[in-house]
Symmetry: C2
Subunit: 518 residues, 2 copies
């Protein structure tokens, strides 16, 4: 039936339409039913019935819906009942413990992609599809369905190496170093990173401060074929349904394992990865609390890799405190480039980058990967490769770490007593850096002058907060005061030594080791 | 901080507040964070940021929120960040496959009760708490938590008998008959029923046509102590959190098993049930499709009963077509009372009611419960007890089935060909009855003149639709035309004979049977 559209000042998470109850009876729809609204184009909304605000003959739509169905205020639109998508039935079946077929999974993903499912329904799916109510075959289906929602990249080479960090620890600026070491050995490593979702700085946020990270598929393929490596941002074109799912998950702060696995692996399927190393940061506040969970997760990732035809290994890394000393886009870029330039740098970043690169080199046949990685870094070859990729991504070919300038509004945070730094709290540091404006304000962030195990005198500077303006600096200082980002006490504590705590090789490797031990 | 409240014309499922982004920065809150708004009273809302509609210094709230926090349009309210409730963490842990403690379950239920969780969070909980990701101990915790959200009833007697039907089949008008038979044997059976959620007529909807179903706890206890039985509506005072959960589940049409179990059992905990019979209607379109699922579900219900200290038995009943011949409040009341008056009645209702009552009598020690139930019904003792309860519930002590008059707008639906009725579709009949106005219009509904297995001549009346006015009758006719509520074909099909397909006794009974067979 025809109704006159009215644009309503309503901001909601999903598309809704307000209708008068008499029109609803005529349409045969009830509250929470779906209707299809058609102007030049069409959109599906959820019905809200209100006689108080909407007289008969009108339908109130949000601005987004108006745009989507190509209609204007006071124009007539065609309104009809839209049956619940079949995929809601599949989600219900999943909630009731059923197993989803490939076809059902494809339908769910495609309906999410087309906006046919409400955020409520997406959350229901994600929550129902939990570790105890999903199997690896279903996760593999989901992975492939997600990959198919965007462009696929054909690099025309094999093998293709890649790595991925599960995240949850700030300051993890190893990507450009790992990629540069691996690519300088002639191995193809098309690393797609992302921007921060809830953290203070994602890889693409700091790489963006010194070269382009957004590029189309053609440019991506060209850069890889020229340099063997890339530090691109993979958010937009590849497996785009992932970001719609994250958008629904975000309010509750959830990221359940099966969905996380499918989301990670879908981007690897897109790029054609054959050999994948997954970094599992372990420690308080990270996604993985202990070695038992880390091993279980590693096993699942390795098995999922097998189903997808990908050789997967995992490395459990130390995530008890921030990696390195800098948090925030410009600051992390500065620290990362400094290491490549050979200025030494904080051992935690150097050790982790070489450890990860080393495992990848070993996956490619190298005997002692770690030693080889250190050698490539020390010799300056990694730096040379880094600058080559930076230039290909439209950055300066003579880029120096000193070119990068953090925010000019700076506050030193002092130790109130002498003693040993007992801990540096990841979540607090992230909150403070975000308070200072990171990642949007690229100069904002934190520089740690001390880390766990350091002895400090009363009054010594523990860390510095950087911001691009005074009011945000004040906000960050206030945030630091209301939390406990660092604790100084008499008790002596151990500093980290090795960043890679345990390597979990693929099944084939395990079989090989077992075979050797026979 | 203080902001001026503005009442906004917004209808959403959860409480939201619209704020300007500058105020959000000052408050340190982001989109989807929670804030506490305090006027005379206080309410928690989810933040939506909009600079376009909300200038600095204002906060837009819905009418419900305005009322809840006791503030008026253009008055100042105090606004502060409200941390995410601890129970969201428990829901996240459940999504990640964790096991919930009693304390966590209590916190989740109490937060749902107090409106601290959004419908999204409730759906996430319900979806995560599925058959593969919950155990009976957790379901028992949930049951007791839900029971504790409302009044508890102490009848001061034992044993207390009760029964419950899982529903999903229309026309299931056995409650007054079962209660009357059981109570006339001196057994206490405090049956709390409910109104329709998505069906055409709940037990309380048709009982309400001839006596009061809403009563306070005092009246409930008095009626039971006077009559041993009652047909009360249990929705409002008892385990009220259940209806909040159903409200969240309803848009997706879900009712996952663990939640359903907790919801059913919580009301039985409230009333102090010691012996419970659960009717599991099985058949196409009902909640339980086959005998294997029915047996598994029965086992879970019996085991949950054990944990809760309740003797539970189950009966799987035939639900392939409507029970009896009437659907809709007045029509069902009429059919039900007719059976008690001894007018015979459709065998499917009589057999099911006597079958259910018989099992309860056997749980109380009777040898042949079915025969005894039939005898009590035939002798008129059940009818006497029925009228006694009706009088106690302020109904007429001389109530007759002929007193009840269905809607005066009637349409006969004729057979288009001769043959056997192949099936009567439950879902179609419910849709037609609802289209006619049931359960709100008490005279609306359907009378089936034929059921499965009947031979009909072309032109014979298959069923009648009743409505309280012409426009709703037209709507129902239209609904009937667009569906296939009955199919008539040459092929001969079998009519049902026995309504109770299988009895699933409690574990102790099984042990006893096993012992006897040794």
């Amino acid at each position: 039936m025809k109704l006159q559209a009215r644009q309503a000042d309503i901001v909601t998470s999903g598309p809704i339409a307000l209708l008068n109850s008499n029109d609803c009876l005529k349409l045969g729809v009830g509250e929470n039913d779906r209707i299809r609204v058609t102007g030049k184009d069409s959109a599906v909304c959820t019905v809200i019935i209100t006689d108080r605000y909407i007289p008969e003959g009108l339908i109130a739509l949000t601005e987004q819906t108006m745009n989507k169905c190509g209609s204007k205020d006071r124009e007539d639109v065609e309104v009809a009942y839209s049956p619940m998508p079949e995929s809601v039935r599949s989600i219900r079946s999943k909630i009731n413990g059923g197993t989803l077929s490939k076809k059902e999974m494809d339908a769910i993903v495609s309906d999410i992609m087309q906006g046919n499912l409400s955020e409520m329904e997406i959350i229901a799916f994600v929550s129902a599809f939990n570790v105890n109510n999903s199997d690896l075959t279903e996760i593999a289906y989901l992975t492939r369905s997600m990959a198919a929602t965007g462009k696929m990249v054909d690099l025309g080479v094999r093998p293709i190496f890649d790595f991925h960090s599960l995240g949850g620890v700030p300051g993890n600026k190893i990507t450009p170093t790992v990629v540069s070491i691996v690519a300088s050995e002639g191995l193809v490593i098309p690393k797609l990173s992302s921007r921060a979702v809830s953290s203070a700085c994602g890889t693409s946020d700091y790489v963006d401060t010194f070269c382009d990270v957004e590029m189309d598929t053609r440019k991506l393929v060209d850069t890889i074929s020229e340099c063997n490596g890339v530090f691109a941002c993979g958010n937009k074109d590849y497996a785009p349904v992932g970001s719609l799912i994250i958008k629904a998950e975000n309010p509750m702060g959830i990221d359940p394992r099966p969905m996380m696995m499918a989301s990670i692996m879908s981007k690897k399927v897109v790029i054609g990865t054959t050999h994948l190393l997954i970094d599992i940061p372990m420690g308080e506040g990270s996604k993985i609390p202990d070695i038992k969970s880390a091993r279980q997760f590693a096993k699942d990732l390795i098995d999922l890799g097998s189903i997808l035809g990908m050789h997967v290994e995992c490395a459990v890394s130390c995530a008890d405190q921030p990696i390195g000393r800098m948090i925030g886009p410009v600051l992390e870029a500065k620290e990362c480039i400094g290491i490549l330039e050979g200025h030494g740098g904080d051992p935690s970043v150097v050790d982790k980058a070489c450890g990860m690169a080393g495992i990848i080199l070993e996956m490619a046949g190298e005997k002692d990967g770690y030693a080889r990685a250190v050698e490539i870094l020390r010799s300056g070859r990694a730096h040379k490769k880094f600058l080559e990729i930076v230039r290909a991504q439209n950055g300066s070919p003579v880029l120096k770490s000193t070119d990068l300038l953090p925010g000019q509004f700076v506050k030193d945070i002092h130790a109130k007593r002498s003693g040993y730094v007992q801990y540096v709290d990841n979540a607090c540091m992230v909150a403070i850096a975000k308070g200072a404006g990171a990642p949007k304000d690229i100069g904002a962030g934190i520089e740690l002058l001390h880390k766990r195990g350091d002895y400090v005198e009363e009054g010594e500077v523990l860390f510095k907060i950087y911001a691009d303006n005074q009011s945000k600096l004040d906000r960050a200082i206030e945030s630091a005061r209301s939390r406990r980002p660092m604790l100084v006490k008499d008790a002596e504590v151990k500093a980290e030594k090795d960043m890679i705590l345990e390597r979990i090789p693929s099944k084939e490797m395990l079989d090989l080791i077992r075979f050797r031990n026979l």
